[in-house]
């Protein structure tokens, strides 16, 4: 576990509200081994803090959040609520969902009243409380509207109101602004921060899951970067820049840069770490390279931009210019790095000779270069090619490969891995794939 800028908040506030001790998640396998999804994690949420959990898609941040709230059971370790273990009981928390998760058949006020009804609060009292909170989030006059009549931003305001009406000690937010357009997201972020800073909401701590680095930097007092496969705490930043923060200020830009550095630094690359296996008799697993979920199409675009910029570019600046967030840029970078078209250094991306050749080539030559790089650097594709070559009819069903992957990944992840591998293999003309029959056939040169 690498810690870039650790600073425990212990001296300021001694008792955490929620504390995870050795919290982990794994799935059992038929052969007695396990697939580790989340490595044992220690994490404490202290009062008065906004914590941002940052990570690329599919790294397990949502799962971790759901374990902290009690929605998803942990397979090891426990969550403590004011020092008491929570088993099956739900601590007083709320979640704001990315998809809003409003009940479309209930009006705005009925949506906000529903959690109060669940707590057995009489109608008049809950109506009063709901009105008060709707007023606070700026929804005065929309009480009797149905969610479908509202814009995305208004819907998420209802989501926030519903979360706050139960006066949660910790407010969890699962990518609350990523379904909104940029301007609306900015407005909502500002309003939420204002409510928090002015102590207008009863919440004692906030926990935001996000893949947007700038969002984390603007909002959070503490940023936890999650590494993947299995998920683990990769870095833990404490942010003490005073509010309101200017994202163009030198401090903010420096912080964003250093987060980028952590996310792309080769020393912290964890793709080649094999999933941990436990259990008696578990055979030692070969090294697995996890494929980033990209299509080869975007690769050329990225490399061409790099060639235009003289072969080296600052990733943060690039993401800003292209208005791409981490979610969409990072996997493409990972792909390029994996194929050795690119290397990263101090938050910069630098093109390699292979990458340069790829960017300059025509369509057919690009495929040839891609094929060579893929077979050399992606063990899975190499294995697939060898397996197909070994068969007399050069054909195997995708089930065969799925079974191989199932030993290393959860069922869902192995499906995604295979889908990505098939995309790459088709592009590289290593094999053909018939989606109807699910058969892979080696492409003869």
């Amino acid at each position: 576990m690498s810690t870039a800028n650790t600073n425990t908040a212990l001296d300021a506030t001694p008792e955490p509200i929620i504390e995870a001790r050795q919290l982990e998640k794994h799935y059992p396998q038929a052969d007695g081994s396990r697939i580790q999804v989340i490595a044992p994690i220690n994490l404490a949420i202290y009062p008065g803090q906004i914590i941002a959990l940052l990570g690329a898609s599919g790294c397990g941040k949502s799962t971790l959040m759901r374990m902290l709230t009690g929605l998803s059971p942990a397979t090891g370790g426990s969550v403590y609520w004011h020092g008491q273990p929570v088993n099956g009981k739900f601590p007083n928390v709320s979640i704001v969902f990315q998809s809003f998760a409003l009940f479309p058949w209930l009006t705005v006020i009925e949506n906000v009243e529903a959690p109060l009804e669940a707590r057995g609060i009489p109608p008049i009292e809950r109506h009063k409380r709901a009105l008060r909170i709707l007023d606070a989030v700026g929804l005065d006059g929309f009480e009797s509207a149905y969610p479908k009549e509202l814009s995305g931003g208004m819907k998420q305001r209802v989501g926030v109101a519903r979360a706050l009406v139960v006066e949660p000690e910790v407010l969890f937010m699962d990518e609350p602004f990523s379904a909104l357009d940029v301007l609306t997201a900015e407005t909502l972020r500002g309003e939420l921060l204002e409510l928090w800073l002015d102590h207008k909401i009863p919440t004692r701590a906030m926990f935001i899951v996000t893949h947007n680095i700038e969002e984390a930097v603007v909002l959070a007092d503490r940023i936890i970067v999650l590494g993947r496969n299995p998920a683990h705490i990769h870095a833990d930043f404490t942010v003490s820049i005073p509010h309101p923060r200017d994202r163009k200020s030198a401090e903010c830009i420096e912080l964003v840069d250093s987060i980028y550095r952590v996310l792309t630094h080769p020393a912290h690359k964890d793709e080649t770490v094999p999933p941990r296996t436990y259990g008696p008799g578990a055979p030692p697993k070969s090294k697995v390279v996890m494929l980033p979920h990209t299509r080869p199409g975007g690769l050329a675009g990225l490399l061409e931009i790099l060639v235009d910029r003289g072969g080296r570019v600052d990733l943060h600046r690039l993401s800003e210019e292209l208005s791409l967030d981490l979610e969409s840029l990072l996997p493409t970078i990972d792909t390029a790095v994996l194929l050795r078209f690119l290397r990263t250094e101090e938050g910069d991306a630098i093109i390699t000779p292979d990458g340069y050749a790829f960017a300059q080539a025509d369509i057919q030559t690009r495929k040839a270069i891609f094929r060579k790089a893929a077979l050399a650097n992606v063990p899975l594709l190499r294995q697939m090619e060898q397996a197909l070559r070994a068969k007399s009819n050069r054909t195997l069903s995708e089930e065969f490969f799925r079974d191989l992957l199932d030993e290393h990944f959860s069922a869902e992840e192995s499906r995604r891995q295979l889908d990505t591998a098939i995309q790459w293999g088709r592009y590289a003309e290593i094999f053909d794939y018939d989606s109807q029959s699910g058969k892979l056939t080696l492409t003869e040169a």
Partner: protein
């Protein structure tokens, strides 16, 4: 507005009284069914009450079944395949068991026969509603379910504010299909002979049936007219407003532009009596219910860790399971004994009739497809025609084919092989609408871009059909054919065997075997024929329709 609503309330009270008097009176097996058109309104009312009670029971049963199947993995494994089988059993096969049980339970009052008739309708209606509810529950988005958990919704609140609203649209559409099926089988459900015992109940179905048996053409026409009037009225007064109301439960984040419309719904919405009733009575009741239920759940949740599943409960579960297994074994044993009584000649006969019905059903399907596909595409490609045709087709489809059957027979029986044609015609009448509906919907859904592309590349009409139209409507066509196929098998029971003009007209087939066996009280034959029919239907579903469905949803789905 208020006055109209009050009048309705008075009428309802009077109706309740009439029904009570009729049902609680002494049993009158073999009661005379009037043929006087002046009795039609009362008869129609009796039938309506029967249907309403049956539907209410079906709904409750279906919701319970679906809820239970969706809530437990183990229950799901048994209940869902079972649903497939139950759905494929024709209602006449349930008749002897239900009727004899009910009459035995209430030997001295009409109530037993009424209840039997109602339960019979239920067995035809409840399964597809149950399946719809189950599959709705299974498709509730994860976020909504998590929201319900994190905000500590009680079981009741989760049911009332999440499960039920999310399933409402599916429930409404399937209810309409179910009730239409109920009208279809009404004639069989109101009048049946079991061996030497004769049960008949005053109602529209028995009126028509009696008229057909006596060959009373005037009464047949009156009966059919009454039935059509009742069904059109129900469509306007009940289903249309319900569909408009259900629109509120559509799970969408943006409002769609094309909303359903019903005049009655708006009238009711404006009547202040309705509002007052809702505010004063209905809402407070549900509030009270919710609070009582949630407070109990809340207290239970607070003492969560302490409560463990009691020993007694697991024991009761085991006992229940054992009882069910014993009962099942007993039933299988007896069924096997009944079946072994059958002569092997009977089996040869059964196989032959199964083959005949199989041919008949599939020819009917083919014929329906042959005319509905071109017609549906023509309608669907013309938006103005589509809107108009949609409502005409809807009304036409809601008239149960069995009611028209006596009229058809009047004309066709004079011809050679007339019953053969009539049987096919009845199946056609019962099934073609499903296909037509779906083809129109499919043709309307083909994107304009694709049509324009076909135009730009100057597709000939054959190529247009091959590359554009047939693939475009394929998923819809499959959906329509699945429903139609099930309907046609069920229709064979009414189509192949009929009491008409004082005699029985029948043609060889599995349907007529079932009707005949039920008529003559040959339970062994009835059981064997039912088993064969259920097996055929389930097999066709498994091996033909399900595969086509998968193909339709993987290859022919139009996605943007």
């Amino acid at each position: 507005m208020d006055i109209v609503v009050f009048l309705f309330v008075f009428a309802a009270i009077f109706g309740l009284y009439a029904v009570g008097r009729a049902w609680l009176g002494p049993g009158r097996p073999g009661a005379q069914i009037s043929q006087d058109p002046r009795d039609l309104p009362l008869y129609a009312f009796y039938s309506l009450v029967r249907m309403a009670v049956a539907y209410a029971l079906s709904l409750v049963l279906a919701v319970a079944y679906g809820y239970f199947a969706a809530s437990s993995r183990r229950a799901e494994m048994i209940l869902i395949p079972l649903l497939d089988i139950l759905q494929s059993i024709p209602i006449l096969s349930f008749l002897p068991a239900i009727m004899l049980a009910m009459v035995a339970l209430f030997p001295h009052s009409q109530f037993g026969i009424e209840l039997g008739s109602i339960l019979l309708i239920v067995t035809g209606q409840t399964w597809n509603i149950a399946f719809s509810f189950y599959s709705s529950l299974k498709t509730i988005p994860r976020d909504l379910r998590e929201a319900a958990i994190i905000y500590r919704f009680s079981r009741w609140q989760r049911f009332a504010e999440l499960d039920l609203p999310f399933s409402t649209i599916g429930l409404v559409w399937n209810s309409m299909v179910s009730v239409a099926g109920g009208w279809f089988s009404l004639m069989a459900c109101e009048m049946f002979v079991l061996g030497n015992r004769d049960f008949r109940l005053p109602g529209l179905g028995s009126f028509l049936q009696t008229a057909a048996s006596n060959g009373n053409t005037r009464a047949i026409l009156w009966g059919v007219g009454g039935m059509i009037a009742l069904i059109v009225l129900l469509d306007q007064l009940i289903w249309r407003p319900v569909i408009v109301w259900a629109d509120k439960f559509k799970f969408e984040q943006v409002e769609s532009s094309a909303a359903a419309h019903s005049t009655l719904f708006h009238v009711l919405g404006r009547a202040s009596v309705v509002h007052r009733l809702y505010r004063r009575l209905i809402r407070p009741f549900f509030n009270w219910l919710a609070i009582t239920l949630t407070q109990r759940a809340f207290r239970a949740a607070e003492t969560f860790g302490a409560r463990k599943p009691g020993r007694a409960r697991t024991w009761i579960g085991f006992l229940l399971l054992a009882a069910i297994l014993v009962g099942l074994g007993f039933a299988v044993f007896h069924a096997a004994r009944e079946l072994s009584d059958l002569h092997h000649k009977d089996y040869i006969e059964l196989v032959r009739s199964a083959a005949l019905t199989f041919l008949r059903v599939n020819s009917a399907l083919l014929l329906s497809a042959l005319w509905t596909v071109p017609a549906g595409v023509a309608i669907g490609f013309n938006p103005r025609l589509a809107r108009f045709a949609q409502s005409v087709v809807q009304t036409a489809a809601s008239v149960p084919a069995t009611a028209l059957f006596p009229i058809i027979l009047l004309f066709l029986l004079r011809l050679r092989g007339g019953l053969e044609i009539a049987a096919m015609l009845l199946m056609l009448l019962g099934t073609q609408w499903y296909i037509l509906f779906n083809v129109i919907a499919g043709a309307t859904a083909i994107p304009t871009d694709l049509k324009e592309a076909a135009q730009v590349f100057r597709f000939g009409s054959w190529d247009r059909w091959r590359y554009l139209i047939l693939p475009g409507i394929f998923p819809y066509l499959v959906t329509g054919m699945v429903t139609a196929s099930g309907g046609a098998w069920n229709a064979s029971i009414f189509a192949e065997y009929f009491h008409f003009q004082g005699r029985i007209v029948s043609t060889a087939g599995l349907g007529s075997t079932i009707s005949g066996a039920s008529d003559t009280g040959r339970f062994d034959l009835l059981l064997a024929a039912t088993l064969i029919m259920a097996t055929i239907v389930v097999l066709i579903n498994r091996f033909l329709w399900r595969r086509l469905y998968r193909l339709a949803s993987s290859r022919f789905k139009l996605e943007t």
